[in-house]
């Protein structure tokens, strides 16, 4: 029947819009960034300095931005992963239903706080705190940014890894308990290892969120473009750079194109993290 076919086609069209949009974004980004390859050339993106506005020599090195994003992501994950994985184990395996009923909505609430609000909290409360605890000149550094980002990544990691833990067949658990293992032994030696691929995927999704986050880091990291591994120094992330500079930049200029290269790089990073996470989930049959 033609009607059925028409409807099916139109539904397919609507459903594949997101793929189309994704493709268009990639094409658009590359189109805007392309002239950079001719002048000043891709090698200049490997410079060690990010100085897009300068009367001396404009430099478009993405390395300080990459290391900034890397440092913050690693730190944030170091805070977020242990806390959220333990929370998800608690919620899935240990908590009684009434505890679950209180914990879950609050964790979801944390996910719904706008990042600007968290950034403001970071600027007013967290940065001065970090400053006084470590006796620093300023609290605007990678550590403050990482703590805020850890807060943002936790809900994602908790809910995805909780799903993973819940999807472990109860036969595993029952068998373990029947063999005389204690509840803790069952959780840590049977359930968690079985859910590990899902937990890994959850961590990756959380990392994707951290890398892509903009507002909060723009407000609390100080945005000094320096290559550093010290969490108590100020760093500049890729997202913050785009957010802070995109508004001003003259259209079509080299600076403008270099910002699009940051965008491309970011997109590739988060895209591949997501793809890998989805693959892992799918492979182990933990797809939600």
């Amino acid at each position: 029947m033609w009607k059925d076919k028409a409807i099916k086609l139109s539904f397919l069209g609507v459903a594949s819009t997101s793929i189309l949009i994704m493709l268009l974004i990639f094409i658009f980004l590359f189109k805007e960034a392309l002239p950079f390859i001719k002048h000043p050339g891709l090698a200049s993106l490997l410079d060690s300095k990010w100085l897009p506005v300068s009367f001396q020599e404009e430099r478009y090195g993405l390395l300080p931005l990459l290391t900034g994003t890397g440092l913050i992501t690693l730190l944030a994950m170091a805070f977020a992963v242990p806390a959220s994985v333990l929370s998800s184990i608690y919620i899935a395996e240990v908590a009684n239903p009434s505890e679950k009923e209180i914990l879950k909505p609050f964790i979801e609430l944390l996910a719904s706080i706008p990042s600007v609000v968290l950034g403001f909290f970071g600027l007013i409360v967290l940065a001065p705190l970090v400053k006084s605890v470590f006796g620093l000149n300023s609290g605007l550094n990678a550590l403050s940014g990482a703590i805020l980002l850890a807060l943002m990544a936790t809900p994602t990691i908790i809910s995805v890894s909780e799903d993973a833990i819940n999807s472990v067949p109860s036969a595993y658990k029952n068998a373990s308990l029947a063999l005389g293992a204690s509840r803790m032994q069952t959780v840590f030696k049977v359930v968690v290892p079985a859910a590990l691929p899902g937990i890994v995927a959850a961590v990756m999704l959380g990392a994707g969120r951290v890398i892509g986050e903009t507002m909060a880091v723009l407000m609390v990291t100080g945005n000094a473009a320096r290559i550093t591994g010290n969490p108590l120094e100020s760093v500049r992330t890729m997202t913050a750079t785009i957010a802070a500079e995109m508004g001003e930049v003259p259209f079509g200029s080299t600076h403008y194109q270099s910002l699009f290269w940051i965008g491309i790089l970011l997109l590739i990073m988060t895209f591949s993290l997501n793809v890998v996470a989805q693959r892992v989930l799918k492979k182990y049959g933990m797809f939600r």
């Binding site: 009607k3 059925d4 028409a6 409807i7 139109s10 539904f11 609507v14 300095k49 100085l51 897009p52 506005v53 300068s54 009367f55 001396q56 600027l123 007013i124 940065a127 001065p128 400053k131 000149n137 300023s138 609290g139 605007l140 723009l218 407000m219 100080g222 945005n223 000094a224 473009a225 320096r226 100020s234 500049r236 802070a244 500079e245 508004g247 001003e248 930049v249 003259p250 259209f251 079509g252 200029s253």
Partner: protein, 295 residues
Amino acid sequence: MNYFKKFLFVISLLGFAFSTGCSDGGDQTSEGKKTSAEARYLTIKGSDTMVHLVSSWAEQFMTDHPDADLSVTGGGSGTGIAALLNGTTDICAASRKIKKKEMDLAASKGISPVEYEVALDGIAVVVNPANPINELTLEELRKIFTGAVSNWAQLGGPDKQILVMSRESSSGTFVFFQKLVLEKRDYTDKALFMPGTSAIINNIVNDQWSIGYVGLGYTKDAKDKIKVVNVAAKKGSPAIIPSEISVKDGSYPIARPLFLYTAGPASGIKKDFIDFALNNSGQKIVRETGYVAIR
């Protein structure tokens, strides 16, 4: 089952209507803008430094002309000029002169921007009130902001690291300060880049050994929490307090004109607004918001 199919069909029709409606909508807004521009609608975009001033003007202008509808947004002088060239704003507020690069871009689009000088602004160098330093020379400022001097002891202060705070590169103030005080050198890579003037003031208040620069207009409201440093043009010459008199007579070394730009000579409501900004009541608002009037 039949009903279900009909339902699906209606939904898909709606989907189509929605998707085609979207593309139509885009055209409509640009047309709608044209007609409402005749109904005295005006957008002003640009310098963050000038947002306070321009929105005060806009408020008074709308009280005087009830039929006018003005919208004022910031984003930086560069943003404003880009918007002017793209035709997304009627007037651009800029705290720097239009660059050669931007003029070329305008020419390629067939636009000839017209410049109106509307006020003067001094850039104040601010520190925490607990800092004993009261005066600095332009050379000392340059050394601080380029990183050649990194401890207050080198300037006669206590043995504390200097925390340098700058605006983001999208700010007109950033470029002006870089040109005039840093003599076109680059800022130190230890400088923290703040997304706005209020962020700088907030950090000056929090971090005792920091130094930053803000538009003179912003120092008025935060008077008790920050200290404005007197600046001397040269070693040995008197350090000048940034004020209306010292900016106007040119003795304060870090001052600049503020501009409004239009694409082509202003006419209609654009001309009315610029005339208003330059007349007595407009210039009175300039003084009230902490800037320096030009007449």
